[in-house]
């Protein structure tokens, strides 16, 4: 047993050949892994490259908004998936500033994204999470928010106020 040679255990390969075959095998396995990994990774990062054309959404007739008032308007995300259900709903704070001017603020606090509330009597937006406060024009009035409330583009189209929906404002 002690003198067993490579030959007696079958056709052993020469050391150089073993190194070569190891390398080829590893490369082949790497290639196979790559073939599987590419579609998986592509699929998972798909949402990063998916086209997401913004869309104008009507939120009510011009007459239904009073000058100087801020109200919550609900609308649907642009191109929601069929199974999104209520999660496709979203909202913004719409302020009619004059006869023909509207401003739409994102509901997300610029601190950590919590939903800010409009306090009618106090004329302020306030965030329930960490007490961020904003003035009626969206400027930071106090607390942790680093920047003013994000604004969505608004237009009046055929007597309807329309908001251009877009991404949740990040950062």
């Amino acid at each position: 047993m002690a003198t067993e040679t490579a030959q007696s255990r079958g056709e052993a390969l020469s050391p150089e050949r073993r190194v070569f075959i190891t390398k080829v095998s590893l490369a082949l396995m790497g290639l196979a892994s790559l073939l599987v990994a590419v579609p998986i990774i592509g699929f998972i990062i798909g949402p990063l490259v998916r086209r997401f054309p913004p869309r104008w959404r009507p939120v009510g007739s011009v007459d239904s908004f009073k000058i100087g008032e801020t109200v919550k308007v609900d609308f649907r995300d642009p191109s929601p998936l069929a199974w999104a259900g209520v999660t496709a709903e979203t909202a913004a704070w719409l302020r009619r500033t004059s006869e023909d001017k509207f401003v739409a603020f994102a509901m997300n606090c610029t601190h950590l994204g919590c939903p800010v509330r409009w306090l009618q009597e106090a004329d302020l937006f306030m965030c329930p999470c960490h007490g961020g406060v904003y003035y009626p024009d969206g400027r930071v009035a106090g607390g942790p928010p680093p920047r003013p409330l994000f604004r969505y583009p608004v237009r009046v189209h055929n007597g309807q106020v329309e908001i251009r929906t877009s991404a949740i404002p990040i950062g």
């Binding site: 990063l48 979203t90 950590l112 994204g113 009597e121 306030m126 406060v133 950062g171």
Partner: protein, 467 residues
């Protein structure tokens, strides 16, 4: 009959050898007198197994679609046979796992079990700790209600603070630019397939290393670990005084694990699962999202740090936590194991526990959240029913002052209490504060008429100990 069974077993064993392997594993020798401190690792494993089996059961009815998950959760909770109990067990099982992983880690640290030759097993344990927390967060989101939706937004906003790739990370988490159809499917896949698969792998390595290096012997004060001689010393203990793991040491694990299972069952039976919040409709804004208890302390930390530090803390705190924990066995892989000779180790555990505990207490109170439910001040508090003081008290509520400032037990705690503010500040001071605002307070200059300001100041001035 008995003989038939025996011959069947023998035939099976002769072909597989599995019984011998299992028996060897069960009876492998361990150090004597390991005692009750050693039960937390197995208990964590048992909690994990409970999570796997209750999770699989829940998955037979749960619908991982953004539009339908909420309805399926309601079905599970209110209609499905024992669904409420099962959801409760999955929740309390998660709580048990987080708690036990923490205790297990604390025990391993305090007893110096992570020192040579078990450094790498500490590392696998750290990975398992963070995977457990990741399971906690993703699991909480599968409870797809209003709180979950806003928690995803808050999570995405935090990821969005990362320089350069922040926007991509946030969009990766949301699976799009908004909460929507793709969001929940993604978290479901993470929670149910991806993270558990990694956990299984790391538990495998963790257990293999326990067998490879042996269960650490209870620390003895004055007997430091010397990597040069430790292996021989450990062999000697095992050879001379080792006892079979099963049942000599394992019976304590069994007793404790059964207690854990019973506790999870009873808590689920008595308290049930966390209540479902409103439906996951992002246009419903009346929500102050908060994580479940195991991450609540971190949430409190983000609320309490100075505003300017938010981004650095979000980015660096978790990273620092991982690095510090990974460095533990590299910095001290030899020397004393007994806590009596490791005052810094004991002190750091006490400090960490106290820090997290304090943050928890604060998170329960949430003093940083405005109190939107604050009711108008009653006459008894106002102290009069005519004049500017009454009008001022009304404004104090209407203008939102009371959401953040407490007066005689009414109102929020975001800002300082104003119960006795008349003793502290003069009329002029009050006016300046209200008009100019402060660090956390809006400037009311453009928001109040002169009369309103006068009334408000009159009311605040009247807040004195002696009227």
């Amino acid at each position: 009959m008995k003989n038939l069974l025996k011959s069947l077993i023998d035939a099976f064993e002769e072909r597989t050898g599995l019984l011998k392997i299992m028996a060897d594993l069960a009876e492998h020798p361990v150090p004597p007198d390991t005692g009750w401190w050693y039960v937390f690792g197995s208990a964590t494993l048992v909690a994990f197994i409970i999570q796997v089996v209750t999770g699989i059961a829940l998955a037979t009815a749960y619908v991982s679609s953004s539009g339908n998950a909420y309805d399926s959760l309601q079905f599970i909770t209110t209609e499905a046979l024992m669904g409420n109990l099962l959801r409760g067990m999955h929740y309390f099982g998660a709580s048990a796992m987080v708690l036990l992983v923490g205790i297990h880690m604390g025990q391993v640290f305090l007893m110096g079990c992570y020192k040579y030759p078990r450094e790498f097993n500490w590392v696998t344990g750290v990975v398992l700790l963070f995977l457990t927390l990741a399971m906690g967060f993703t699991g909480q989101l599968l409870r797809w209600d209003q709180n979950a939706v806003w928690s995803v937004v808050v999570g995405a906003e935090q990821a969005g603070r990362t320089p350069i790739i922040g926007d991509m990370l946030a969009r990766f988490l949301l699976a799009g630019k908004t909460i929507g159809g793709a969001t929940l499917s993604r978290f479901f896949a993470f929670h149910v397939f991806f993270i558990p698969a990694i956990i299984f792998g790391f538990i495998g390595i963790h257990l293999f290393l326990v067998l490879h290096d042996g269960i650490s012997e209870p620390p003895v004060a004055g007997e430091p670990v010397d990597p040069a001689t430790y292996r021989q010393k450990y062999e000697k203990i095992i050879n001379e005084r080792g006892v079979p793991f099963w049942p000599d040491a394992a019976w304590r694990d069994v007793v404790f694990c059964v207690a854990v299972v019973a506790a999870i069952f009873l808590l689920a039976l008595i308290f049930g699962p966390p209540k479902l919040d409103n439906p996951p409709n992002p246009s419903l804004l009346a929500r102050d999202p908060a994580p479940d208890w195991y991450l609540l302390w971190y949430f409190a930390l983000l609320a309490l740090i100075p505003h300017k530090l938010t981004t650095p803390v979000i980015l660096l705190a978790p990273l620092t936590g991982v690095i510090v924990l990974l460095l533990v066995p590299i910095v001290s892989n030899k020397g004393e194991r007994h806590p009596r000779y490791r005052p810094w180790a004991v002190a750091s555990v006490i400090i960490i526990v106290m820090m997290i505990g304090t943050l928890w207490v604060e998170a329960e109170r949430e003093p940083w959240s405005p109190d939107f439910e604050a009711r108008p001040l009653p006459i008894a508090v106002v102290g009069t029913n005519i004049g500017p003081v009454v009008d001022g008290a009304k404004l104090f509520h209407e203008k939102g002052c009371e959401f953040c400032h407490e007066v005689s037990g009414y109102g929020g705690h975001r800002g300082p209490s104003l119960t006795w503010v008349g003793d502290r500040l003069t009329r002029a001071d009050l006016t300046v504060r209200i008009m100019n605002g402060g660090y956390n307070m809006p400037a009311f200059a453009g928001l109040l008429t002169e009369d309103q300001l006068g009334d408000l100041v009159a009311f605040l001035e009247s807040r004195r100990k002696e009227r």
